[in-house]
């Protein structure tokens, strides 16, 4: 019903008119579902090629795509990749393509469809995708890339946020250089918020008489939730539970940190300049309790100091001078560099020079594959795994696209860390700093989530080496409400000065009532979150699988889950076909980073759940002591074998 659409007149010079461009996101407890819908009409007397080109966040799962071309509807289904390809080859759609390509822009991937439409024909595209919002540096960031390509008669973006914990703040930064100042309308309640962005055609114009649209960029919504309890928020709904854990008010744990920096020839120029700039700030941010050193490598491996040193002002100044003098040249010997860093940390640990309450981190910054020394990636992986002590976490930052990012991910995931891609541009320095800031404040070590009930199954990774301030650990699982009416969790962890056991109980009745009152709330958020985590973790396990048989088994599980949950994963493809089934398109997922979880800071392990550790049972408890002593028979009072101070 395009003619009925409300909206202002756009110039009709363009043969294809964009009638409507609508984006709607709903976020329910960190689970975001986004729909992008675009309606166009060919006003010219000639057939026209119409493109639907949208960017979706990396790591998002596409769940649905529909298209109506001149009255013919195409709907999508998820198939195993080879099945999908075979179907596609049987009945390719004429004059239509659908694809999905990995984009080289930051954190985004392109989904692209092109159709040829006859004169006067209308076309409607609709894409759905799901993602999980990971907390970084104290907030969640929801980005919607808006690129309608032309002025739209009706442009509308709505973001609905439902967070049962309540929202601490919500902010829509100006990402359009002031062009749309005052256009986003924010309404925020305690637990719900709505951001609406509806620029008129006049507002969309780049300049008063321009036909070009200024809507080309990201609408960003940032928010954080309230956290009353350290033990986190345990939400149970529809047979699944999700547990969000982001404690605050803990002192940072001292860290022993080794920066391993690639200074090979390929780093020459902007990459090195930006790395040096970032390192200077990072070194300044070290705390006095921290210990550090710097290893720089090309075909040779050098160290600023052979041992870890305290992060005093003098040492930091000296390290900065050392880094500033680095001249990139030569090859890349990642193997030797990592082994040297591990040796320094291992030696310090063996000699008792490390604070037993500290955490040890290696941050590798590299822009390329090894070219000198050990070249075989699997051998490097093996060497590192064999040498590294199990209290060290390895984080890898891959600059640019010449680096085998999957290798870095495997390397880090296997050694209690994660990898992140850094884009080699003017922004490299801030990306490096941002990543460092995420891991600069370890608050807890050895964080284990226990759900010691028979009613809880299929728990996602529940053991994490570290917890860093500003982030959030998410654990999910299945729950059988017929066996128990509530879920209990027991988290054990080590903070800077103590062992910690945190208990919490779910409050499912409240949540059900709360969600039922909101039409935008996604009742499947627990299920989606569980599936998202499980599939990503299985993909990472698959990439680290030691045998082909294990890999096959994991593949089978991922595939089945992808089909059950109707999502495109690296093992599935989306077949888009018309009702008659004689025209098909294929949307294949890009070769993805086979590791958990895009955007998440944690890669954990799975361990069996246990009860409260024995040390945490206070002995004797005041109550048991009281009972053990017993009440005096003459008085109907509690036993009084205590001295006490109270108020009337």
């Amino acid at each position: 019903s395009l003619p009925e659409e409300s909206g202002e007149e756009t110039d009709t010079v363009d043969p294809v008119t964009l009638y409507s461009y609508k984006v709607q996101s709903t976020i329910t407890s960190r689970v975001a579902t986004t729909t992008i819908q675009s309606k166009l009409v060919n006003n010219s007397p000639l057939p026209q090629s119409v493109v639907f080109d949208v960017q979706i966040p990396k790591g998002a799962f596409i769940s649905n795509f529909t298209m109506t071309v001149n009255g013919m509807t195409f709907t999508s289904s998820i198939k195993e990749k080879t099945v999908g390809r075979a179907l596609y080859s049987q009945a390719r759609a004429k004059g239509k393509t659908a694809g999905w390509v990995r984009s080289r822009t930051l954190d985004m991937e392109n989904f692209n469809t092109e159709v040829n439409i006859p004169p006067g024909a209308k076309v409607q595209f609709e894409l759905h995708y799901q993602e999980v919002k990971w907390r970084k540096l104290g907030s969640y960031e929801h980005k919607i890339h808006l690129q309608p390509g032309k002025l739209a008669k009706h442009l509308e973006v709505n973001v609905w946020i439902i967070e049962p914990q309540g929202m601490r703040f919500l902010h829509v930064p100006d990402t359009f250089e002031g062009h749309f100042q005052g256009v986003p309308v924010i309404s925020k309640g305690q637990q719900k918020a709505h951001v609406s962005f509806k620029p008129t055609v006049a507002q969309q114009r780049k300049c008063p008489n321009c036909t070009e649209t200024a809507v080309n960029g990201e609408l960003v919504v940032m928010y954080d939730v309230n956290r009353e309890e350290k033990a986190g928020e345990l939400e149970v709904f529809n047979g699944y539970f999700v547990h969000f854990f982001a404690p605050e008010n803990l002192d940072p744990i001292p860290k022993n940190i080794l920066f391993v920096i690639d200074v090979s020839g390929s780093m020459w120029g902007i990459k090195m300049k930006q790395t040096v700039e970032a390192m200077k700030t990072i070194l300044d941010d070290l705390r006095t309790d921290d210990q550090f050193s710097v290893v720089d490598f090309n075909h040779n491996v050098r160290t600023w100091r052979n041992d870890l040193v305290s992060a005093t002002k003098t040492q930091i100044a000296d390290a900065k001078r050392y880094i500033e003098k680095i001249q990139p040249s030569g090859g890349t010997n990642i193997n030797e560099a990592l082994l040297r860093a591990i040796f320094i940390l291992n030696e310090a640990s063996n000699m008792g020079l490390l604070n037993p309450d500290s955490v040890s981190l290696i941050i590798l910054v590299s822009d390329g594959d090894p070219t000198v020394g050990e070249l075989k990636l699997s051998k490097i992986q093996k060497n590192v795994k064999q040498s590294i002590q199990d209290n060290i976490s390895l984080f890898s930052l891959g600059i640019g696209f010449d680096v085998d990012y999957d290798f870095l991910k495997r390397l880090s995931n296997e050694n209690r860390g994660i990898a992140q891609r850094i884009y080699g541009n003017q922004d490299t320095s801030s990306q490096l700093k941002k990543f460092y800031n995420q891991v600069s404040t370890p608050l807890l070590r050895n964080v284990q989530f226990n759900y010691p009930q028979a009613s809880v199954t299929d728990v996602t990774q529940n053991n994490f080496h570290n917890y860093f301030g500003g982030s959030e650990i998410v654990v999910a699982g299945k729950f059988d409400p017929s066996k128990l009416t509530e879920v209990q969790s027991i988290i054990t962890a080590t903070s800077a000065n103590t062992e910690l056991v945190l208990e919490t109980l779910s409050q499912m009745d409240d949540l059900e009532e709360f969600l039922s009152k909101d039409k935008h709330a996604d009742p499947d958020f627990t299920k989606k979150l569980w599936a998202y985590l499980t599939i990503n973790q299985l993909l990472a396990e698959r990439s680290l699988a030691p045998t082909a048989a294990i890999k096959r088994k994991i593949t089978k599980t991922i595939l089945q889950m992808s089909l059950d949950h109707h999502i495109v994963t690296p093992l599935t493809a989306m077949v888009i076909e018309n009702d008659a089934g004689d025209e098909r398109m294929l949307a294949d997922s890009p070769p993805q980073d086979h590791s958990c979880c895009s955007g998440a800071l944690y890669y954990g392990t799975k361990v069996a759940s246990g009860p409260i550790p024995s040390w945490a049972n206070p002995s004797p408890t005041p109550m048991s002591a009281m009972l053990a002593v017993g009440a005096k028979p003459l008085e109907s009072t509690p036993p009084t074998h205590l001295n006490q101070v109270e108020n009337d």
């Binding site: 350290k230 919490t504 206070p618 005041p622 002591a625 509690p638 006490q644 108020n647």
Partner: protein, 244 residues
């Protein structure tokens, strides 16, 4: 605050009140030999009633010197400091914090139990009042067992009774008010007039409390406690009591 002192040998409860000013810190247990301090800081009600401002314990400080641990329990948070680092819990958590020697167990919105070396324990109860109550404020109660784990030098308003004084209560007689008999009590060389009364123990019923019959010592425990109650003021939450 009202104090209920249980004397195991004579199997009697003796009560007294301490009325002071908000901000003052009272020494409850001070044992320099064992390195244990328990102090309580007073807070006031929102306003005075009948010309009198009620005071309550708003903050309790525990210092375990040998373990190098300081624990501050307020009506808002429970904070454990050790060396230069701090761990903080809110009353919204059910949690256990500790190491091999000190254990802090928090029962969400109810109580904190501190256990030292699995043999000495203190219990703190949280009393929440309606936030908009015109007068009352949240406050804390503390419970300690009269056990012989302290050194002979232990003192403080509670600590001094860890070693039981000899008491003799006699000449029970009708009091000025019906149902509140009086008696004479000999303790620490003093002869006092005490009144039979009831005080609240909130361990089993945190809202209404349970009445504990006790002999009430007037004038802020004068004669029953060593010296004057003002002798128990300490400058800091973790100060040992300096004995005159």
């Amino acid at each position: 605050p009202h104090f209920i002192i249980y004397l195991p040998k004579s199997k009697r409860n003796i009560c007294f009140n301490i009325d002071s000013e908000p901000g003052k810190i009272l020494s409850l247990v001070s044992d320099p030999e064992s390195g244990i301090v328990v102090n309580g800081q007073l807070i006031g009600a929102k306003r005075a009633e009948n010309g009198k401002l009620s005071t309550y314990f708003g903050k309790l400080g525990f210092y375990f010197q040998k373990e190098g641990m300081k624990i501050e329990i307020s009506t808002e948070t429970i904070t454990l400091s050790s060396g230069s680092s701090t761990s903080r819990l809110s009353w919204s958590d059910t949690a256990h914090l500790g190491n091999s020697r000190v254990l802090i167990s928090v029962k969400k919105e109810k109580s904190v139990t501190l256990t030292l070396n699995k043999e000495l324990f203190f219990s703190v109860l949280l009393h929440r009042v309606w936030r908009k109550h015109p007068v009352n404020v949240d406050f804390l109660g503390i419970y300690a067992p009269p056990i012989d784990k302290f050194s002979p030098r232990v003192h403080g308003l509670l600590g001094q009774f860890m070693q039981e004084p000899a008491i003799h209560i006699f000449n029970e007689r009708p009091g000025k008010e019906p149902g509140k008999p009086e008696a004479s009590m000999e303790v620490k060389g003093h002869k006092l007039t005490v009144t039979r009364g009831l005080q609240k123990d909130y361990r089993t019923d945190i809202v209404f409390g349970t009445d504990v019959p006790c002999w009430f010592v007037h004038n802020s425990g004068k004669g029953f406690i060593d010296g004057h109650y003002k002798d128990y003021f300490v400058p800091q939450l973790y100060s040992f009591l300096k004995r005159p």
